[in-house]
């Protein structure tokens, strides 16, 4: 049986690991290579590493650093940040990334996403869906002044045949008071493409709620691992206790 995945998310600001709240106020939380080493030794299911400022600061991701992070990992790694060309993707795959996570370029150029899927296969291309709630429903957070609804963006990406969605609630990011279950449910209703839900995990009850109320395949978390004693294994034990399949 396919197991649900518990995925630590490392957000990078160009210098070190940071953790945001509602996508603002990045707080330094450590060194990415050390963090990757610890997560590998704990046997986590997968790792996500995103340079969250690469696109807005018009930087390319630091390939040397990403290579050092991936070197620590004998599990799958997804990398995101500033990806704009086929060559960018190829450079990341060459140093051992399994998937790339794209957002800004996906908002600007759906043709590029189609091209990337044709070249590397669906399974390689994940799309970050950063959504916030408004009175008119969920919209996609971005710094480009592009206004697009959750539904429209997800449907565009489905038609590009992408392989995965990393769905983050901007409102719940870093707040550690639970996941945005409605957001996850809305995306699941639109598609059968696998989803990683992120944003809001702070206690065992939140993971319990997420997996018992939705059919999500994976959860990504950062704050709970940075700021509490809980480990990915604690979350797996909690899920196992309610009959959710996990890899222990």
């Amino acid at each position: 049986m396919l197991k649900v995945r518990i995925i630590p998310v490392l957000s990078f600001n160009g210098f070190g690991l940071v953790k945001t709240k509602k996508f603002s106020n990045p707080r330094m939380v450590g060194n990415p290579v050390q963090a990757a080493r610890v997560y590998n030794s704990r046997g986590v299911d997968e790792l996500v590493f995103v340079d969250i400022f690469a696109s807005s600061q018009k930087r390319k991701i630091n390939l040397k650093l990403v290579a050092d992070v991936i070197k620590e990992c004998y599990m799958p790694v997804a990398i995101g940040g500033g990806i704009e060309t086929i060559e960018d993707i190829n450079n990341l795959l060459k140093i051992g990334a399994d998937k790339v996570i794209i957002k800004t370029k996906a908002l600007l150029d759906t043709k590029f996403i189609e091209e990337a899927v044709a070249f590397f296969g669906s399974q390689c291309i994940s799309i970050a869906i950063d959504a916030y709630a408004t009175t008119e429903g969920y919209k996609i957070f971005n710094k480009l002044n592009i206004e697009i609804s959750l539904e429209d963006f997800v449907n565009q990406m489905i038609s590009c045949k992408v392989g995965e969605f990393v769905v983050t609630s901007v409102d719940n990011d870093g707040m550690m008071d639970g996941f945005d279950i409605d957001l996850i449910k809305q995306v699941i209703q639109l598609t059968n493409i696998p989803i990683i839900a992120t944003g809001g995990g702070g206690g065992m009850e939140h993971y319990n709620e997420l997996f018992s109320q939705t059919k999500v395949q994976a959860v990504g978390s950062a704050s709970i691992f940075h700021f509490t004693q809980f480990t990915p294994l604690d979350i797996k034990n909690e899920l196992k206790s309610i009959g959710i399949p996990v890899r222990i």
Binding site: K3, R5, D45, K94, C124, N192, I193
Partner: protein, 201 residues
């Protein structure tokens, strides 16, 4: 020496890292002479079937690899796309010819209630345990939208249940290939690779 075939299709670095960890001498190469000298050929790969075959053809590797593996019976291990390419034909994104070392095809998942790609950790059922004896756990990492359908059930080493019994690895003489990624499957994957290279040392 293991020749990890470099044909511009993805995850060579991860495969090399796993072999280095196991202290297995290896080289990433598309050099015909180096491949001829190697004791074992490892074909990794991520991407579409058509692109994979095109890249092998562009480097003159289709004839060379076929000669080494089928005629000279060199040890071969294929991973993910490197497993799919050994079949006769693929459908990604349209029907096209593969290396044809194992009879059968590669087809897209057609599942009503399950997500495609099949992505994540799933447990395998072992039919031929030659290389699996040292694995402590049976969960391996899968990530694929197409799956292999061999003509002969005898060629199937392991299966994985995802809506139905999907082929997870193939073993046929000197040919071994996995749909999952042993290099990404932590201890279980490293144990599998260790056993394969010990037996074929």
């Amino acid at each position: 020496m293991v020749a990890i075939i470099d044909y511009g299709m993805g995850n060579v670095a991860s495969v090399q890292k796993a072999l280095n960890f196991l202290k297995i001498e290896n080289v990433i190469t598309d050099d015909h002479e180096v491949i001829k000298e190697a004791k074992t050929i490892l074909l990794p790969g991520v991407g579409s079937f058509v692109q994979g075959m095109k890249n092998l053809n562009d480097r003159g590797l289709v004839e060379l690899l076929t000669d080494e593996v089928i005629v000279r019976k060199k040890n071969f291990i294929g991973i993910c796309l490197g497993m799919q390419l050994i079949m006769e034909k693929g459908m990604e994104p349209f029907e096209s010819k593969g290396l044809g070392w194992v009879k059968g095809s590669v087809v897209k998942f057609e599942l009503q209630d399950l997500n495609v790609p099949h992505m994540g950790w799933n447990n395998i059922q072992v039919l031929n345990d030659t290389y699996y004896k040292e694995c402590q756990t049976d969960d391996f990492y899968f990530i694929h939208s197409y799956h292999v359908v061999p003509e002969s059930k005898k060629d199937i080493a392991t299966t994985v249940n995802y809506g139905f019994d999907v082929v997870a690895s193939i073993q046929k003489g000197n040919i071994f290939a996995t749909q999952f990624h042993p290099e990404k499957s932590q201890n279980a994957g490293l144990s599998l690779l260790k056993t394969f290279f010990e037996i074929n040392a």
